[in-house]
């Protein structure tokens, strides 16, 4: 599959936005879907639909097999040891909530500390905040430096004897900084502290190898990986899934239910209560296949080229200020234009069909640190090309013209 022609695989680009071609630069928010994924959802509902894991009829067995196949595809894609280390959730947010809730319930007491960073988005902060309220734990924030990075040293500085979990992003959705996860995990494990990685931005853009990263938990957002919405994945080492209590109760997660007691099902069903997002799980297999077909190395190379071209182009544009300058950076460029509020930028760009995000990107702590209420953000996916960046620059210039800037 030639990455230069990949846009053709995404039917959304056949549509016009305000009579212009769509230039989609909001993949960090959510990615577009290739035809194969859309077709898979349609086909499943049209020809193969049934609930999974319960009935013995033909459709139920077939659907269960398809559902479990995705689990195996994910296991292989992220190099997990066991397919039962893959738990489907409704999103990365639920995956992190699952860990915070069950880990907190079993292991945390007043005064214990969770170490996160200043660049976490809200889904890797708010679930821990609940424990601050319910259990009286403390949350420590590893500092972001002026380049918009979190270093191993800044993590080390905040580790104390009370640190019970380190929960960190793989890739910042604002500055694009890629965190040294492997080194952080080694450090944490040397002090017997487990590590949760928020992989919302990491999973679509980086090579995922759980054996290499060696983290204890990794949360994935499927809709950012060219997959359907309403689906996330929690990877967790088996020992954790065995040790932690169940999260939600309901059908599908039990072994035996009596009036006096209830026993819970085996992994991974223990964590998959109720009817799951079946069609989404089955379609996500196509997203994995799509990524595999292009090859993550090619994706990384393509997005790095785009990001560098984007940085070069926007740096030449005076009045554009780029947020952060991490050495190791993913395909995200956040910026401001002096004299134009990010929401005005986004409205003006939208008129040209250029879709970016403006706001705090669910990272208010980081924006407070940067002293900015909001930023504009262009984020890239496999379907973007240099023409998209040229159009971004043209539209930014239009913005400057409307606001009478030089």
């Amino acid at each position: 599959m030639n990455i230069d022609n990949i846009k053709k695989e995404f039917p959304i680009f056949n549509n016009k936005v305000h009579n212009n071609d769509l230039i989609y630069l909001d993949s960090a928010n959510s990615s577009q879907k290739p035809q194969v994924v859309i077709d898979r959802i349609y086909d499943f509902y049209t020809k193969e639909f049934s609930n999974v894991g319960r009935s013995v009829h033909y459709l139920a067995v077939a659907a269960t097999n398809l559902y479990e196949n995705t689990r195996i595809s994910v296991q292989k894609y992220i190099n997990a040891k066991d397919k039962n280390e893959i738990v489907f959730t409704k999103g990365a947010t639920e995956a992190i909530n699952l860990v915070a809730n069950t880990f907190g319930q079993k292991y945390l007491k007043e005064g214990d500390e969770i170490l996160i960073t200043e660049l976490e988005h809200h889904s890797n902060y708010v679930p821990w905040h609940y424990l601050r309220q319910s259990k009286g734990i403390k949350i420590q924030f590893a500092e972001v430096n002026k380049e918009g990075e979190v270093t191993l040293e800044s993590i080390e500085k905040k580790i104390t004897t009370k640190t019970k979990m380190i929960a960190i992003s793989h890739l910042s959705n604002v500055t694009g900084a890629i965190l040294p996860i492997k080194e952080i995990t080694q450090l944490a494990h040397s002090k017997s502290i487990p590590v949760l990685v928020d992989g919302c931005q990491g999973a679509p853009h980086l090579k995922l190898d759980m054996q290499d990263l060696d983290c204890d938990f990794y949360a994935i957002s499927c809709h950012k990986m060219y997959g359907p919405t309403g689906l996330g994945i929690l990877y967790a080492k088996k020992k954790w899934l065995n040790e932690l209590p169940p999260y939600q109760g309901g059908g599908g997660m039990i072994k035996e239910v009596k009036k006096e007691e209830i026993s819970y099902g085996e992994l991974p069903h223990k964590y998959e209560a109720g009817t799951m997002a079946t069609a989404q799980v089955i379609a996500f297999d196509k997203s994995i296949k799509f990524l595999e077909k292009i090859g993550i190395e090619n994706i990384i190379k393509h997005e790095k080229e785009l990001m560098e071209y984007g940085l070069e182009t926007l740096r030449k544009n005076n009045s554009v200020n780029i947020i952060g300058n991490p050495k190791n950076k993913g395909a995200v460029i956040s910026f401001t234009i002096k004299g134009v509020h990010p929401h005005d930028i986004a409205t003006i760009l939208d008129e040209d069909g250029v879709a970016i995000r403006a706001g705090h990107h669910c990272c208010q702590i980081l924006h407070e640190k940067l002293g900015l209420a909001a930023t504009a953000r262009a984020s890239f996916g496999v379907y973007n090309n240099k023409t998209d960046i040229d159009q971004l620059n043209i539209s930014i210039n239009k913005c400057k013209k409307i606001f009478n800037l030089q």
Binding site: H18, G339, V340, H341, P342, H343, D344, T347, I348, E351, A358, G359, H360, Q364, H367, A373, A374, I402, F403, N404
Partner: protein, 156 residues
């Protein structure tokens, strides 16, 4: 959609150099407003005299051109108005932004209404309507003496 209608010169001028953008000394009423979607914040200050006339009105805050211009135009038009008149203008403005083609209040002069109508361009941009209405809802809260911060998400 028409960007020229949204970003008229008067909006850009007020957005760039907002009038009455300052913290007031000796205010006797105030309220804070917040738009969680974009993080915009506004703090409206009022000084009412014994007869409940607006002796002075100002605001502090940061935000997009639309929200700054809206607060700036609002404060310029309402100085020296009576409390009752202010309430009428707020109601009229919010109705116009929501669904009425024109302003109907007799409180404002025609040229003042024309100035205010410059904000009507946001009607074509549903995501931006709250940028224009934040300061007005906040002023309403200040007049009513409500203490809690307004979350603009609660308003239509």
């Amino acid at each position: 959609m028409n960007l020229k209608e949204l970003y008229q010169e008067i909006i850009l001028d007020h957005g760039k150099n907002p009038h009455n953008l300052k913290k007031m000394e000796n205010f006797n009423k105030d309220a804070k407003g917040h738009n969680p979607l974009c993080g915009d914040k506004v703090h409206v200050y009022l000084k009412l005299d014994d007869k409940k006339n607006i002796e002075d009105i100002s605001f502090e805050g940061s935000g997009c051109a639309i929200s700054m211009a809206s607060a700036s135009i609002m404060t310029s038009l309402l100085k020296n108005k009576k409390e009752k008149e202010v309430k009428e203008v707020i109601k009229d403005f919010l109705e116009m932004i929501k669904n009425k083609p024109e302003l109907s209040t007799k409180i404002l002069k025609e040229d003042e209404k024309t100035k205010l109508m410059c904000l009507s361009g946001v009607k074509q941009y549903p995501m931006r309507v709250k940028c224009a209405t934040l300061s007005w809802h906040t002023l309403n809260f200040a007049m009513e003496g409500k203490k809690e911060e307004i979350n603009i998400e609660k308003f239509e």
